[in-house]
C-alpha cells in the first residue's frame, strides 16, 4: 500500500515494498512518511542499514532544522613557509577575505566546492557528516612535488616547476585529497592492494565530480583527466591520469609513461606504491567514466550517487576487492533507482573493464 500524505492514514509497509522506495520515503520531509520508512529499514537488524539510513538522513532539511549539523564549511588555511612542520602559520580562516597568496585562495575555494557538492547533492555535511572543519596547508617543504592527506588535514606542495606546478592549481587534486578524508570517515578502505586502488579511485572520482560540478559540466563535457594543468610545460602529457583512457595521460622522458591499466587484463602486480594503488585505480576509474557517460547528464547525479551510496552504505569492507565493490554498486543502483538503465549500465561498465559482478 502506498502511503498518501495528509489523509490521516497510518502507512502500512508490506515486505513487498522495495528498499529503494523505502529509501525515498525515509528522506521525506513529512515524518509521518519518513519515520516508519526508517524504522522498516532499520528493522533489518543489520548495522549496515542503520549506518546507511543515518547517512541518508543528513539531508539539507536536517541541516536546516538541526543546529548541530553545519550547512556551511569551516575552512582554515595555513602556510608551511616551505618547512615541514604542520599545520604551519594560519593565513586564512572561514569567512576571511582572499589573501594575496593565490595558493591559499585556490585551496580555500577547492575545499568549499567539495563541501558544496557533498552537502547539496548528497546531504552530507563535510567529510564526517557532522561539519568537520576542513584544514589545509600550502607551501609544504621546498619544491615538493606532491600533495597528501595526513589523516587530519590536507597538505599541498609547490611543485618544482620542472615536472609539476603548484598542487593547488588543480581543483580535482584538492577534492581528491579531501575525498581521502571522506573515505577515512566512511568505508575506510585499506590503503594497499585492491582496496587501496579503490580508495585512490574514489578520490579520483570525487576529484572529477567536484571539477565538473564547479564548471557546470555534464559527463560528456568533462575531460575525465586528473591533474590536468598540474604538469609543467616541458612535460610531455595532458594530465597525471585519465579516467577515460587509463595509460594515455603522459609519456615523457623524465616521468616515464602513464602505467595505468584500463582493464583487469593489465592489472599490475607490484610491491611498490602499496601494491600499485595509484596504478590499478585506473580500472575502477574507467568503470566510473563508462557508467557516467553511458547514463549522460551530470555525473554526480546518478553515477556519483551510486558510488557515494556504496562508500557510505556500511557494507563496503575495509579490505574490499574490486569485485566486492562492483557487486555493491550493482546493488546500490538497484536500491536507489530500481531495475532500469542505471543497474544495467553499472553491469556493463564493470564487464567492460573485466571485473566480475557475481
Amino acid at each position: 500500500m502506498q502511503p498518501r500524505p495528509n489523509n490521516g492514514l497510518q502507512p502500512v509497509f508490506c515486505t513487498i515494498v522495495p528498499p529503494h522506495v523505502l529509501d525515498k520515503l525515509s528522506q521525506a520531509d513529512d515524518p509521518l512518511l519518513a519515520d516508519p520508512a526508517r524504522r522498516t529499514l532499520e528493522a533489518d537488524g543489520a548495522r549496515r542499514h542503520h549506518r546507511r539510513v543515518t547517512a541518508l538522513a543528513w539531508t539539507p532539511q536536517a541541516a536546516r532544522t538541526s543546529a548541530a549539523v553545519p550547512s556551511k564549511p569551516h575552512r582554515t588555511l595555513y602556510d608551511c613557509r616551505h618547512g615541514t612542520d604542520l599545520p604551519g602559520v594560519k593565513v586564512r580562516d572561514e569567512g576571511d577575505d582572499p589573501t594575496r597568496d593565490a595558493s591559499v585562495n585556490r585551496a580555500y575555494a577547492g575545499l568549499g566546492a567539495t563541501f558544496d557538492l557533498l552537502l547539496t547533492e548528497y546531504g552530507r555535511s563535510s567529510i564526517d557528516g557532522k561539519g568537520l572543519p576542513l584544514v589545509g596547508s600550502v607551501h609544504y617543504d621546498e619544491k615538493y612535488n606532491n600533495a597528501f592527506f595526513d589523516g587530519e588535514q590536507m597538505v599541498f606542495g609547490d611543485g618544482d616547476g620542472e615536472i609539476f606546478l603548484d598542487f593547488t592549481i588543480a581543483i580535482d587534486v584538492i577534492a581528491h585529497e579531501l575525498a581521502h578524508g571522506l573515505t577515512q570517515y566512511t568505508a575506510n578502505l585499506a590503503y594497499e592492494g585492491q582496496s587501496g586502488a579503490l580508495n585512490e579511485s574514489v578520490s579520483d572520482v570525487f576529484g572529477s565530480l567536484v571539477k565538473q560540478y564547479s564548471l557546470g559540466q555534464s559527463a560528456d563535457q568533462g575531460d575525465w583527466l586528473i591533474g590536468a594543468g598540474l604538469l609543467a610545460p616541458r612535460v610531455s602529457g595532458v594530465a597525471l591520469r585519465s579516467m577515460k583512457a587509463p595509460g594515455t595521460a603522459y609519456d615523457d622522458d623524465v616521468l616515464g609513461k602513464d602505467p595505468q591499466p584500463a582493464s583487469m587484463d593489465d592489472y599490475v602486480d607490484t610491491d611498490e606504491d602499496n601494491g600499485g594503488v595509484h596504478i590499478n585505480s585506473g580500472i575502477p576509474n574507467r568503470a566510473f567514466y563508462l557508467l557516467a557517460t553511458a547514463l549522460g547528464g551530470n555525473a554526480w547525479e546518478r553515477a556519483g550517487r551510486i558510488w557515494f551510496d556504496v562508500l557510505t552504505g556500511g557494507e563496503l569492507a575495509q579490505d574490499a576487492s574490486f569485485t566486492d565493490f562492483a557487486r555493491l554498486t550493482v546493488k546500490a543502483a538497484q536500491q536507489r533507482f530500481g531495475e532500469g538503465d542505471e543497474a544495467e549500465a553499472v553491469l556493463k561498465a564493470w564487464s567492460e573493464v573485466g571485473v566480475p559482478t557475481r
Binding site: 615541514t84 604542520l86 612535488n145 606532491n146 600533495a147 597528501f148 592527506f149 595526513d150 589523516g151 597538505v155 609539476f164 598542487f167 587534486v173 581528491h176 585529497e177 581521502h180 577515512q184 590503503y191 580508495n199 585512490e200 578520490s203 591533474g227 597525471l240 616521468l255 616515464g256 602505467p259 611498490e272 606504491d273 602499496n274 600499485g276 594503488v277 595509484h278 596504478i279
Partner: protein
C-alpha cells in the same frame, strides 16, 4: 658504502631511485656519518604512511630502513634529498 634511496607512492604514483657509492668520494665520511645517523634514528617496521604521501626505502650496505611522509626525521630528509638529487 652503497646508499640507495627508493621513493614510491605520492599523488602521481611515480617512483624515483637514487644511489651513491661513497668509496673514492672526497665527502665519503660525511655521507657515511649521515647514513649511520639515519640507521640509528629509524626504529621499528615500515610506517603506515598517509594517503598520497611518499614512501621511502633507504638501503645502507645490507641494512634497510623504511619511512614515509610526513613523519620523517631530519636525518632521513637530508639523506633522501641528497641521494635523489645527486644519485639519480
Amino acid at each position: 658504502m652503497r646508499i640507495q634511496v627508493s621513493r614510491t607512492g605520492g599523488f602521481a604514483g611515480i617512483a624515483r631511485h637514487g644511489e651513491i657509492d661513497t668509496s673514492g668520494r672526497p665527502d665519503a665520511s660525511e655521507w657515511e656519518a649521515l647514513a649511520e645517523a639515519v640507521l640509528d634514528s629509524s626504529r621499528g617496521g615500515p610506517p603506515a604512511g598517509v594517503p598520497d604521501g611518499f614512501r621511502y626505502r633507504i638501503t645502507v650496505g645490507d641494512r634497510t630502513v623504511d619511512c614515509a611522509d610526513p613523519r620523517l626525521t631530519q636525518e632521513q630528509r637530508t639523506l633522501i634529498s641528497r641521494v635523489l638529487k645527486e644519485g639519480a
